[in-house]
Amino acid sequence: MAEAKDMADETAIDPVTLTVIQNGLAQVCNEMDLAFCRAAFSPVISEAMDRSDGIYAAGDGALIAQGDLGLPVFVGTMQYGTQAVIERVTDPRPDDVVICNDPYLGGTHLMDVRFYRPFFYRGELFCWLANTGHWPDTGGMVPGGFSARATEVEQEGLRLPPVKLFKQGELDPEILAIIQSNIRISEQRIGDIKAQAAALKIGDKRLTALLDRYGAETVKAAIAQLRARSSQLMRAKIATIPDGTYEGEAFVDSDGVVDEPLRIAMRITVAGEEMTFDMSESSPPCRGPMNSVIATTRSSVYLAMKHIFPDVPLNAGTYEPLHIVDPRGTFLYAEYPRPVSGCAAEVSQRIAEAVFAALTKAIPDQLFAAPAGSSGNFALGGHDPVKGRSYVMYVISGGGYGGYAEGDGLTNGCSTIGISKSQPVEVLEQYFPVLFHEYALHEGSGGAGASRGGFGLNYALSVRRGEARASMVMDHGRTGPQGVLGGKDGGPNRVRVDFADGKSHAPAHLSKDQDIAIGPGDVVRVSTPGGGGYGAPFARDPAKVAADVARGYYSAEEAAALFGVALDEGGVVDAAATARLRGT
């Protein structure tokens, strides 16, 4: 970005024009986001909003602007992906669209397919427009790509290097044929491909209009200055954190293959206006799919910081004061051919959790206890004999958020790295031969605290006809999300299958399993984690505890044991007994 910095010195832009151009760039991104999700076929994109759109520098792919409506986990990855494309695609032409899903080239997992469109203004390459969308399938050993048992990336699906899928506006039928021959439910992918490319085209139009209005030189200079200002804004936030070294950790249950926890060791050093994140003491690379590529590892740190300071605008400057030591030799720096399907959905959230845990020690008032932090991916693949067709059903689920100084955690919030809505039961039952028995609050799962955690979810379902196989990649089965400042951990994730013959099955790896055979009469039961508690449970207002009991969030016994609150038979606080329990 040296080039852009020179430009900034040449042309000073008044702060008002800067704000206007910043809003203009943000709107270009938001429009791409909206067009993409409304036109997409993949429910993961359209409903779960598992996609992101942005604008990246022509020279090095540095982030210029990215939509606020995009999936948080992509905040940091896309500039690295663009950089990889710039290095490899040396002859970009107008209306070209490059496709790539290689995780090791600035990506996440194979299902996140990236499109890159060179943006030309008056014949010159000005920047790149790019988006990422999670396709429901990109081939591999299990439908949907989340194999809990893959040990190399080839088992996870088709890996596309950067190639021009559209050549000057024309879709290349040969590349399309290769893709369609290697993925499941391929007939709907043409719709996603067109939607994904159309979103970039809309971005192209809007950005052209912005440049027509303000001039290319002004916009270029504004981009450089906005970068400097975002950096300044992030620095001002960091300056409010006391200098020092803060440590936090988080554990992934297992890698799905070897049943041992993976540790993320986070050591954050705050020095003045800069922060360094060192994860080099984390577990070594793992055999199963819980490795994280470096782009995703970095992005996870960025999104954690954005959750703590939500009002800092996103561009390359935002990240300048955040230094991430490459965690080589750990599972957070995955190299070919390590399997990586779990990195975007689960490991990323554990990294964020480790950042939260560390910074709770520095600025507890601004932090919160750990959120459930799992995407709760559950896939059911089977054959419907009545409709005569095969299907793959995905269920994503939320969990409780952590308590914080001013309030209790949210119940059934979405994943830390997501902004996705879950599918209604009425919709799932319409499309798939399943019947839900419950969709209910996971009682008792909110971690006890002065501010308690929010609650997770319990759901139970059966297939109504035909055979099916269930797979899941979840987390926090071994331990619940961390409580802080004396607060208790949230309730952990649980999975159980009750078979019609009276037997039960719980995954050996607790939160991860693959290909469990399910037939009519069998019931799959999932309980998702509650959020961590914040502050000492005995400090919680007894009246709030009584209300929680009246609502059935906790039993009277839990109120006494966890919160030291005794209730009489009518559910009213017994002040004397409470004082005895609390030792006050």
């Binding site: 948080p72 009425e426 019947l435």
Partner: protein, 699 residues
């Protein structure tokens, strides 16, 4: 005989009233002996009475000298239900639902309040202890999986009544497909319920998605007793004063309904305020030859933007009133952003100027109100730049000088930005205008409409002050400033038709849909609408039917609304209409993929008598433009600096007058700003049509 119609809209601060009298000679005005057949107009603006809006309504009637016994129609827009909802002052409500699903209302769809930040939340409309389950279950095809446990329904209803619930919701899974269990449960519950406030989900919304339908039904139940009580009191007060006709009440879909039945579907009155403004715009636009409008209503804390295409306001049935409060009945689609006169301007930690969304509100308000406000606002910027009349605006009780406002802008914003106070104030306006232009872009360009095909219709107290700059930014060629921007919502009440909407989920691939079912569903919706209009007894001149279909490609989850020309539509026409709408929106054609028919809609609209808008400003017109001039004032324009600018009195402007910008047109309810290079013409209805000269932007 004269016909006297009153529209009365209750807003957050003021209750506005407009009285139109057509024919006869008993003019409500000061009787100037002008043309007797001309429509006479009277308006009133009184403070809203928050605890019972009826007092404000009665005061407004008095202020307009509109004795109830002399009125032929009274149409009322009330925020009773919207406020009850937003302030959570709701009736205690209980829920009876399918076993295993009582927490649907609390779990939502796994969301959080904003993309970034992990704090905050929401309180479910019904607390968990008042949500009870009974054994019953339908499947997605409407087949009974578990029969209804009737004894359990009775016991649950009794338990909820005993717990002090005033209203009851019955919400079962897949009731949109087969409502038999909900119907039976209602019969049983009505037996034991102490009042009529029992709502079944499928009655309010026959659409799939259990959370959204459940919340919508709950909103209906929780505001029903409040609305009914309010309407009953108002009707009693009006009857006591001799009013002999039906009270008509505005709904969020832009239509009115008789006060006699309004409480049955109380949820339909939510967000009726923004809807009535858009209806007035559509009516005015149609009369003025502008069927395509973007409406821009700017008030003290926010601005609402809506779109009218071919005279028809856009309606959506997927709106969310606030975080985690989806209300999925059809409502006029209005996009709201936090920019209004009271929006605060401040410098962020990165050194950039921001305007809003924080608002100074009415208290402490902008600095110039003299109520203790210290942060510069949009209104303060307009004041120091000469766009607003300092005499009219500056506080009288706690005097604040214009110098104080300038000084605050200079020190708080100008100094850190290196700008003079004028430049800083200009910057506030530029950033605010840019933000509002973004909202206009979101409802037009982002939805596939070209702003150049529209006129901008500004209203509300501050809309006409900012509209010129926004139109210029977006290339919108003209503004249509209505005669009475400050009482547009009240006017919307007067011009709105009776309207009832119906939605039914089908959700089948188009090539497999039973077209007889489609035709039957649409026919049933028409019959239901006609029956309702007959039952409410409001006289209508004609009944108009509008059909639509929500469609998607198989495999998608978002919907596009496709207009249908007739109830007898065939399969091929549906497919073609959908493909066309899809192309218009995304410029994507997908011949490879089949279409899905998700919902069928019908709006049954009872046309009310036309209203003459030709004399909304009932004042003596001037003979020429000079006769309307009030004087001059120095006004600051971007790129021009200070310009000596003439001021005109809106009420004196007669049809055909032309004004060259720069100019300021003042009226009681607003100030219209005409920028240099723009030209305004007064049309026969008293609207100001302002043509925007294409001024190039800076850059």
């Amino acid at each position: 005989m004269a016909t006297r119609i009153v529209g009365c809209d209750v807003g957050g601060t003021f209750t506005d009233l407009i009285l139109l009298e057509t024919g006869g000679d008993g003019a409500p005005g000061s009787g100037s002996g002008r043309d007797a057949v001309r429509t006479r107009t009277r308006i009133a603006k009184v403070p809203t009475t928050l605890d019972n809006q009826a007092f404000g309504v009665l005061r407004a009637l008095e202020a307009a000298d509109a004795a109830p016994e002399t009125l032929d129609a009274l149409v009322h827009g009330t925020t009773t239900t919207t406020n009850a909802l937003l302030e959570r002052k709701l009736a205690r409500t209980g829920l009876i639902t399918t076993r295993g699903f009582r927490d649907v209302l609390e779990l939502g769809r796994r969301t959080r309040p904003s993309s970034y930040g992990l704090k905050g939340g929401f309180t479910p409309l019904i607390p968990r202890e008042l949500r009870l389950e009974v054994a019953e279950r339908m499947d997605a095809d409407g087949g009974v999986v578990i029969p209804l446990d009737e004894a359990a329904v009775r016991a649950a209803a009794e338990q909820l009544a005993a717990a002090g619930c005033q209203a009851l919701v019955i919400h079962f899974l897949h009731a949109y497909k087969n409502p038999a269990h909900e119907r039976r449960a209602m019969e049983i519950a009505r037996d034991v319920w102490p009042n009529a406030y029992v709502t079944a989900g499928h009655q309010v919304l026959s659409e799939y998605r259990e959370y959204e339908r459940g919340v919508t039904a709950t909103v209906n139940a929780a505001v029903q007793p409040i609305l009914e009580r309010y309407i009953a009191r108002l009707v009693a007060e009006l009857s006591g004063r001799g009013y002999r006709h039906d009270l008509l009440v505005m709904q969020g879909n832009g239509g009115v309904v008789s006060g006699r039945i309004v409480a049955e579907s109380a949820v339909n009155t939510v967000m009726s305020g923004p809807a009535s403004g858009v209806m007035a715009a559509a009516y005015t636009g149609a009369a003025a030859g502008h069927p395509n409008l973007v409406t821009f209503d700017m008030g003290g804390t926010s601005c609402d933007v809506g779109l009218i295409k071919d005279g028809v306001p856009q309606v959506s049935n997927e709106l969310e009133i606030e975080y985690a409060m989806p209300v999925h009945v059809p409502m006029v689609d209005v996009h709201t952003i936090g920019a209004g006169g009271g929006s605060i301007a401040a410098i962020d930690e990165g050194g950039l100027l921001r305007v809003g969304p924080e608002s100074a509100g009415a208290t402490p308000g902008p600095i110039c109100y003299g109520r203790g406000g210290e942060a510069p606002t949009i209104t303060d910027a307009n004041l120091v730049l000469g766009r607003l009349d300092a005499q009219a605006l500056l506080a009288v009780d706690n005097p604040v000088g214009i110098e104080d406002v300038r000084a605050a802008i200079a020190t708080r914003l100008g100094a850190p930005l290196g700008l003079s106070w004028e430049e800083a104030a200009g910057a506030i306006l530029r950033i605010a205008n840019d933000k509002m232009a973004g909202a206009v872009r979101m409802v037009s360009l982002s939805r596939g409409h070209d702003p150049r095909d529209f006129a901008l219709f500004p209203f509300g107290g501050a809309g006409p002050l900012h509209a010129a700059a926004i139109a210029r930014e977006l290339g919108i060629p003209s503004l249509l400033v209505p005669a009475r921007p400050g009482i547009t919502n009240a006017l919307g009440c007067v011009v709105a038709d009776v309207r009832h909407d119906y939605v039914q989920t089908i959700n089948e691939p188009l090539d497999k849909v039973d077209m007889d079912l489609v035709h039957r569903t649409l026919a049933d919706q028409i019959a239901a609408g006609r029956e309702t209009i007959a039952r409410e007894g409001v006289s209508v001149e004609d009944i108009r039917i509008v059909h639509g279909a929500d469609m998607q490609f198989v495999g998608q989850s978002h919907l596009l609304s496709v207009p249908l020309a007739e109830a007898g539509v065939d399969r091929g026409t549906l497919q073609d209409a959908f493909e066309w709408v899809y192309w218009e929106r995304f410029e994507v054609a997908l011949p490879e993929i089949k279409a899905n028919l998700v919902n069928l809609h019908t709006a049954v609209i009872g046309k009310r008598p036309a209203v003459d808008l030709s004399n909304l400003i009932d004042e003596e017109r001037a003979a020429d433009l000079d006769g309307a001039r009030l004087g001059r004032r120095s006004v600051w324009f971007e790129g021009e600096g200070w310009v000596d600018t003439p001021r005109y009195a809106r009420g004196k402007l007669a049809a055909g007058f032309e004004i060259e910008g720069p100019a300021i047109v003042e009226q009681l309810d607003t100030t219209v700003l005409i920028e240099p290079g723009m030209r305004a013409v007064v049309d026969v209805l008293g609207n100001l049509e302002i043509r925007i000269e294409a001024r190039t932007g800076r850059g």
